[in-house]
Each structure stands twice: as C-alpha cells, then as structure tokens.
Amino acid sequence: MTMTAILPWRTAPPSVGHRTRTHRTDLREGWQRLRPRLLVLLPILFGIAALGCSYGAWRIARDNAAIRALSAGQDVVVPIGAAPALLLARVQHLARRGAVETIEPLVDALERQGAVERAARARFALANAHLRQAFDHLERGDLDPAGPRITLARQEYRRALQARPDFWDAKFNLDVASRLLRDFPEFDRKSGDELKAEPKKIWTDIPGQPRGEP
C-alpha cells in the first residue's frame, strides 16, 4: 500500500527536471544563435547613436554662434526651416530693427514646427515692433498711421496670450497698447480684435482726469 502511494511522487520529479532542462537547453540554444548577430548589431547601433548625438551637438553649437551674432546686431540670414531658438533670435533681431513685414513668415514657420512657447515670444516681439512704430508716428504727430499699428500690435499681443496665457510681459504691453487706443463696446463689434482703425478716436488715456462726467 505504502509503495503504491509513494511511487507517483518518486517518478514525478525526474519528469519536471527533464522539462526544465529542455527549457534551459532551448534558451541556451536560442542565445547561442542570437549572440553572433547581437555582437555585429551592437557596435553599429551605438555608432549610429554616437553620430546622431554629435550631429545634434554640432547643430546646437552652430546655432549658438548665429544667435550670439544676431544679438550682437549682425544681420545673419536664417533659413525658414532653422531650429526654433534660432528663428526666434532672428525674429527678435528683425523686431529691434523694425522690419515687421519680414517677421510674419518666420512666426508662421515657428507655429508649423509646433514651438508654441517660442512662437508666442516671437509674436510678442512682433507686437512690440508694431507698438514702437506707433510711438514713432505719435511722436511726430502722425495720428493717421498710428491707429492701425496699435491695432496690429494688440492683435499680436492677443495671439501671443492665446498661445501662452501666463505670458506676463505680453499682458503688460497689451495693457500699454490698450490705453493708447480704447475699445468701445458701442462700436457694434461682435467678435475678436478686428477694430477698424479710426484715427479720430485716438487719444492717450490720461487717467484720473474725469471727462465731464458727474
């Protein structure tokens, strides 16, 4: 009786051991087949990674040189497909020089590249350029062209804020531009910042001085 009860337990372990052994043999054979290919593949993959990283580092170093030259005031031409940082540096350079017409395609390129934060900063620089030109006109007493400039500046500030609601410099300068040219709800405007320039309605707010109101 005891023999028959014990026998299955005695015979079972060898079969389990056999299974694990064949399993191990399969693993070892697979590894042996894989090893030579892996040994060929690894240096190639690491080599490609090293080349890619060095190319990226070289590009950053080259862009840095161009960014430094632009901020020093040199007129470095930047292709439309350049890296976002370089495009933004070019936009800021053009904005300092007041070349607003050439900025727009660069901002579009930034937006196409998905660089939301830098596109907002580029729009801010563009708006500042518009606003500075408006100040130039106002200083000369040229009211007619100043109005559209202020409107353009406000549109660009608004778009910069739409992309980046926490852009405090854009909020501040939009406030500056808005005090130059107030909106009037009774202008029957239903949407957006599409205020038609009405030069006659331009004045700078002189706050604190009531205008004949009780």
Binding site: A49, D169, D175
Partner: protein, 307 residues
Amino acid sequence: MRIRCLALILAPLLSGPAGAQVHSVEVRTPRPFGYFLGDLVRAEVDLVVEPGFRLQAASLPKPGALTYWLDLRDLDATASVYGDAQRVRLGLTYQTFYAALDARALEIPGFTVTFVSESDHGATTVKAAVPAWSFNVSPLREIQPPARDDPRDYMRPDGKVGPGNPRPLLLGAAGSATLALLALAGLARDRTWWPFRTRRGRPFALAARRIRSLARRPDPTPHYRDALLALHVGLDTAAGRRLLADDLDDFLKTHPAYALEGPDLARFFAASRRTFFGPGPEPELGAFALADLAALARRLAHAERTA
C-alpha cells in the same frame, strides 16, 4: 477642476412642461474676482434634466471670440446619471482680454442649450437657459505711471533667446562612442580580429584565416598541402588531441555544433589521405579544391562562434 467658491445661480425654471423637464441649472466658478488681462476664466455648468433627454451638441456655444474682450477657448460636455435624473456637466474655459483701468465686474453672456428626447411619437426638445454670470477684473498696473521721456520705456522689453546647451548631446555622443568601441572590441574578440588574433578557443577561425591567406596568393596550388595542414591543426586543437579520419564520428558526437559539416569533413579527410599518402594533390584539386577547403573552414569558424 477645484471649485473653491460656489457661485450658485439657480436659473428661474422655465414655465410649463419644459420647467418640469429641466430640473436645475448651476454655474460654478473657482473664484469670481482677481482676474487680470489675458487670464483664463473657468466655469462649470451643471444641467440636470429628466432622464431620456440628450444634449444637442450643435446648440452649445462654439469656441472662438465671443466679444471684443472675451474668447471661449475650450468647452467639454460630460453626461452622467444623477439620482433618477440625467446630469450634463459643461466645462467652459474663457480668456479675458479686458484691459481694466480699475477693478470692475464684467458679465459673461448666458446661452441656451437644447436637449432632445426621441420617442416613438417623435422628438421632444427642451431648452435650458444658462444665465449670464459675472466676475471681477483688476488692473495690471497703476492708473498713472511715473512720467517717462520716451514712451517706449513703458513697454516690457522684447526678451532674448538664451543659447542652447549642447552638453547633454555631447555626453550622449561620448557615451555612445565608448559603448560602440566596447561592442566593437567584443565583436573583434568573437571573430579573433586584431588584437585578438592569437586568442585561445577559436582554432577554426585561425585555420580559416590561414587558408584564406593561402588561397589569395597568386599561385595557390603549391600551398594546398599547407592549407590542409592548417585545417588539421584546427581540428586537432578543437578535439584536444590528434584527430584522424576514424575519429571523426566520435568528434562529431562530442562536438554536435559541427555535425552539419560531417560529410564535408569526411571528404576533407579523404582528400588529405590521398594528398599526403596517395598519388599527390593535383588530381584531387577538382574533387576538393582549395576554394572548397576555404569554404569549409569558414563554415566551421561560423559554427565555432555559435557553439
């Protein structure tokens, strides 16, 4: 969204049957004050309606500019069961562009949403009015800033782009290059390339290289014997003893990695016997030429690497 302050407006329920179908309309905002120009203003609208009514998506306000100072940026609607009624929660994100001179309350316009219940007798629609609600905006700077000669001085500057940092990529390049060199060293060791030419444990790789260099000479025929000897040396080293034709079966049993090459090894031993102890190599070159020998040695070296 965290709702800290509950600005609850229970809309006057519509009269008639519609009033019974729209249970309640609630507008909640995180805070109704302390907004600046350009800030996001969030609101949550809870509409509880009779079960069976479905929100008509086309009746929701469209994202975009609402007035000259207000954009609706984002709107999402989620429906859930609320007790024995149906609740639709609208998450609204507005952005204000009101350049305030003083702190003042602005009103966000209300809107109407339509719910539809379709039955066998036709569709019933009911309109729920979301009331207008207001929030306070604050000015960003003093009303009369200190006077400046140049008005441009009131503006915040354009900002500058900082240079990019190539250091992480350089470190990555250095790391990858090091790993590539290590992997290359591993490959060279595996294939007994320089500087691992005299590596132990790769006798067939050495033999294959020797035979290849012999076969590459301008007149390879006189070196046939040397080539055979080279493979003999390789086989002897692999077996750990002098290997003769009769020992081949034992060798293949103890080294199963080379079992595939058994027939060619037998031909090699036959060619060797005829060359060294028979009539000479010349007639045999056609049967088992130097090129065949080189190919056999290369296959043996390959099998040796996977063993």
